[in-house]
Amino acid sequence: MDYGIFLYVISLLTMGGIYAILALGLNIQWGFTGLFNAGIAGFYAIGAYVSAILTTAPTARHLGGYEMPYPVAWIASMVVAGIIAWGVGKICLRLRSDYLAIATIGIAEIFRLILKNETWATNGPRGVSMVPKPFESLPGPWNQLAFLAIVLITVALIYLALEKARKAPWGRVMTAIRENEPAVRAAGKNVERFRMEGFVFGSMLMALAGAYTAHYLKFIDPNATDPLAATFLVWVMLIVGGSANNKGAILGAFLIWTIWSATEILTSRLPDELAIRTAYVRMFLIGLLLQIVLQKFPQGILPEQRPKPPARPATGPVETGD
């Protein structure tokens, strides 16, 4: 195999894996809890910057110099994102999904503004560069493979943990809340707490994905990717792959990322003028794909796996006449 293609496949899988983490995080929020997070890019950015700042060498351009070990930085990213998610959730989770959507888009924008304006911390629009990468001292292709391994192992661990949670009582309550909230309230469960947990855990995973990206690209800036497009891409991945299905989230991530990346390669062969325009066509088609899936195949490729109902008969109000 041509070495170039080999490296490309590794990068495809790496980025696909990072998106899989994002999709799994969104799956907790959307698939399990039924929350519409339109600010994925915000939590992603938080994770990226926290991890970058904690691991970079000292420099006058931005906050840094802590040179923490990677796991510490990653956990810190998740914690910071979790705290912020808790704050956002406190305000908006009790309201309807539209409000959460607007609020999360707002949060993502606010973060972008902070990252752009607080140049003492973040180096503003110029971004944080020379972010260290695990195993980067190894010769290629081993350093790329090592990083890929980190990403894929993370995906696997998250998947296993989420599957366990899904089948456990926690997961069943989540599904019940999504489908018949009044019944769950009547049964005495604290719906807000479950919702908050879903929102916070999901956001933490998104931050982790951001952290990995910062290390992978060795660079992060406030406009690294069009934030809205990135958010949108994750949503398409989840809906196409299958909401409320962890395998579907992973499948959707790799599938859509491959389509996105491969079409980018193809169209980049075109002359510059056309290449730029095709970027918009690609986005349009991905959007159209979403609409088609929403209308015709709302379940996605891998439909939801319902948790097995508990042994005892279902309790809760039954629809009565009158």
Binding site: E319, G321, D322
Partner: protein, 242 residues
Amino acid sequence: MATLKLKDVVGGYGDTQILHGVSITVDPGEIVVIIGPNGAGKSTAIKAVFGLLKLTGGQILLEGEDITNTPPEKVVRNGVCYVPQTANIFPGLTVEENLEMGAYVREDDFRPRLEEIYEMFPPLREKRRQAAGTLSGGQRQMVAMGKALMLEPRILLLDEPTAGLSPKFRGEIFNIVKTVHAAGTPILMVEQNAKQALKIAHRGYVLVDGRNKYTGTGQELLDDPEVAAMFLGGEKTEVEAE
């Protein structure tokens, strides 16, 4: 010919079946009342007439015409008007605007009819420019009924018109029902306040578990010891949640 006839109607919501063969007749000039315990299917029977649920069996005939499973937008044009138990007025619109909306499907000038409604419900004329949501419970019911009457319907369906009202207002509502009836509209009414309702009814139906249990004139049902035992012991005070 009967104004309205439900013949062995079977249906419900989704997978839950509520009506298991209900038959009700309303003849011209009658006030017919449906009473029964919770879950009996009283409101469901009315909603079935108005096309709000899918019927899997039986028929609904309006002056002989089959209107089974006709959607609400069309049933309204056929001359059946329905006043739901809750959310039966547009609170942000004025009284007059509410009545005007009631006349939405009319092709002709609705103003003469508007005058007639104000004659029937004088307090509404006084408050015509007030937001309907600011009125008292009893006045709101007047708006709800007036709105439904703007189309001069062939029959009026009422779903628990006294629900949530204090005893004083309940009497007022039953008087309004009698007024409306006196003006020429037959009425099919579901009521929790069985005793008071039967007193003004020509005939009544007792539904239990989605089936006809008893029927008779208002007085017959009031006198029947079994019916009395079931629900005429005490007047219900709480509103049944839908």
